[in-house]
Amino acid sequence: MSGPDKRTTVEDVVAELRPGMVVGIGGWGSRRKPMALVRAILRSDLRDLTIVAYGGPDVGLLCRSGQASHVVSGFVSLDSIPLEPHYRAARQSGSITATELDEGMFLLGLQAAAWRVPFLPTRAGLGSDIPRLMEHIATVRSPYPDPTTGEHEELIAVPALELDVALVHQHRADRSGNAVWLGEDPFMDDLFVRAARRAFVTTEQVVPTEELRSGGVDITRQRISRLDVDGVVETPNGAHFTECPPTYGRDETFQRRYAATAKSAEAWDEFRAEFLDLDEPGYQAKVAELGEVAG
C-alpha cells in the first residue's frame, strides 16, 4: 500500500492556478520559501492574486511583477535587509491593498482554516490598530464568566485564513507528498497545507518513503502528510536565494542584488531578463555560474 504518485512540475502546478486565487506561501521572511514556484508564477500571466504569507521576497517579487493585488501578512522582511523594498514600494504607491496582522493572529487564522472553524479567539490584537484598520476583524465575547470577576471577556475573533492553494518548500518528500523538514523551525508549513483546498510541496529531493528519515533524521521532522498534499515537485536549490538550512544558507550577495532592483525600472528589467525570464533549470545554471565566478 502506498500513496499515489503526485510528482509534477512547477509549470504544471502553476497551470492549476487561476487569476484571483488566494495563495498561501510557507516559510518565514527570507527563510525556506518555495521560490521555484514563485519564479514559475512570475513567468505566468496569472493576475490579481491574494498572497498570504509571513512575507519575504516571495511577496516582494509578486508585488513588483504586478501579479499580487492583495497581501495578507504578519510582516514582510528580508531578515538581513529588514524592509522588503518592493513591498514597501507597492504599499506606498497603492498598487496593492493589504491586510496586516499580528504574527500570532496570522498563525491562528491558518489554524482556524485547517480545523474548519470560522475563527479562533485570542487576546492578541486587542487595543491595537489592527481591529480598527482591518475592518473585517471582529471581537467575540466569551460565553463563560470569569470565575473571580464574573465578567464575560472580550477577545479578538481571528477569521480563518482559507487558502485556495498552499505552496511550501521541504527538504525531502516522497512521491505522494509525505515530507520532511530539517533545520530548526518547521515554520507554519504544515498549517498552510491543511488550510488550503489544494497544496503543493517543492522539495530538495524526492526519495522513497522508507528513506525519508535516512541519515538519522528524527521522526518529529515528518510533519507533513500526503493526506494534505496534491502535488510534489523536486526542485534542488529551489528555495534560493532564501535560506534552507542545513542544506544551504541564504545567498546574501544575490539577495542584495535583488533588493537593489527597487532602485529603478531599468535595474528591475535587467534583473528580470537575466534571472526571471529563464525557466528553473536556466535560473539554477545562472546561479551556479555566479557561484563559480565568486569562487
Binding site: 518565514w28 512575507g55 501578512s73 504578519g74 510582516f75 514582510v76 522582511s77 529588514p82 524592509l83 513591498y87 514597501r88 504599499r91 506606498q92 497603492g94 496586516e100 496582522l101 499580528d102 504574527e103 500570532g104 493572529m105 498563525l107 485570542t122 487576546r123 492578541a124 490584537g125 486587542l126 487595543g127 491595537s128 490598530d129 489592527i130 484598520l133 470569569d146 470577576t149 465578567e151 471577556e153 472580550e154 477577545l155 530548526e184 523551525d185 518547521p186 515554520f187 507554519m188 544558507g249
Partner: protein
C-alpha cells in the same frame, strides 16, 4: 573615575529594565537590547532565560555578534522554541520583551508598521510583527537609539504595541496582563510611574544619562513628559558589569550604535 561611556550607560539601563523578572524569558530585540538583556542575565538576574536569537531558549549567556557556526557551537539549549512555540509561550505570559520603536508616545503606544496613513503610507515599515500580541499578554519595554521629537511623539501614526490609554479603554479584564515598563533611549530612561488626570499611566522621566540635561530631554521629546523634581543620573556599569560587558560585546559594537556625545 572618568565618566562612563554612553553605550555602557544604555546597556546598564536596559539590563535594569529586567531587574526583578526572576525566572522568565528575557527577550530583547536588537543589538544593544541584546547586550543589556544578557548583561542582566550574566549579573543580577541569573535565572532569566534567553533565546539564541532564533529557535531555542538557551541556558548560557553568549556574546553578541557570533556568526552562525559559532552561535550553534556556543549555545546551551534548554528547550526548543520555534516561532509557534514562542507564540504559545508569550500568550502564556512568562516573557518580557524589549522591542524597537519607530514611534512611541506618551502612553507607551508603539509603531513599527508605517508612517503616515496606514492605508497608503508615506513610509511602509515592517508591519505589526508581534507587537499587538506581546503588549496585551506580557511585560514590554522599548529601546530608542535615536531620541528625537520624531520618535517620541504626541500620537503614533499606527498603534502596533498597545499603550496605557488603549489598555485602559479595554477595561480591567482584557488589560490585566498589560505592562509597559520602561522606554530606554540614548539620552534617558522613562517609566510610567505618573498618571494623567484620569489615572492613566504616562511617560515619566526616570533618569538622565550622564552629561544629558533634563532640558535636553524635554526638547528631544515630542510629547508631554512628567519631570519629577529630582531626576537622578543613570548609572554606569559597576565592576562585575564592566567585565561582563567586555565579554558580551568584545568587538565594541555598542559604541557604534550609541556613540559618545
Amino acid at each position: 573615575m572618568s565618566a562612563p561611556r554612553r553605550a555602557d550607560v544604555c546597556a546598564v539601563a536596559i539590563a535594569e529594565t529586567f531587574r526583578g523578572d526572576g525566572e522568565r524569558l528575557c527577550n530583547p530585540i536588537g543589538n544593544l537590547p541584546l547586550i543589556g538583556g544578557r548583561l542582566a542575565a550574566a549579573t543580577f538576574e541569573p535565572h532569566l532565560a534567553l533565546t539564541d536569537g532564533f529557535y531555542t531558549l538557551i541556558d548560557d549567556v553568549p556574546p553578541v555578534g557570533l556568526d552562525e557556526e559559532q552561535r550553534l557551537a556556543h549555545r546551551v539549549v534548554g528547550s526548543w522554541n520555534p516561532y509557534r512555540e514562542m507564540f504559545s509561550l508569550l500568550w502564556h505570559g512568562r516573557r518580557h520583551v524589549m522591542m524597537g520603536a519607530t514611534q512611541v508616545d506618551r502612553y507607551g503606544n508603539q509603531n513599527i508598521a508605517a508612517i503616515g496613513d496606514w492605508h497608503r503610507p508615506t513610509s511602509q515599515l515592517l508591519g505589526f510583527r508581534g507587537a499587538p500580541g506581546n503588549t496585551i499578554n506580557h511585560t514590554t519595554s522599548y529601546w530608542v537609539p535615536n531620541h528625537s521629537p520624531k520618535v517620541v511623539v504626541e500620537h503614533v501614526d499606527v498603534v502596533c504595541g498597545v499603550g496605557y490609554d488603549r489598555a485602559a479603554a479595554l477595561g480591567p479584564a482584557s488589560s490585566r496582563f498589560h505592562e509597559i515598563r520602561r522606554v530606554v533611549t540614548n539620552l534617558c530612561v522613562f517609566d510610567f510611574s505618573s498618571s494623567d488626570g484620569e489615572g492613566i499611566p504616562v511617560l515619566t522621566l526616570r533618569s538622565v544619562h550622564p552629561g544629558v540635561t533634563v532640558d535636553e530631554v524635554v526638547e528631544a521629546t515630542g510629547c508631554e513628559v512628567v519631570v519629577p523634581p529630582d531626576v537622578p543620573t543613570s548609572r554606569g556599569p559597576d565592576g562585575d558589569e564592566v567585565v561582563a560587558l567586555e565579554r558580551l560585546d568584545p568587538a565594541g559594537s555598542r559604541f557604534a550604535e550609541v556613540p559618545d556625545p
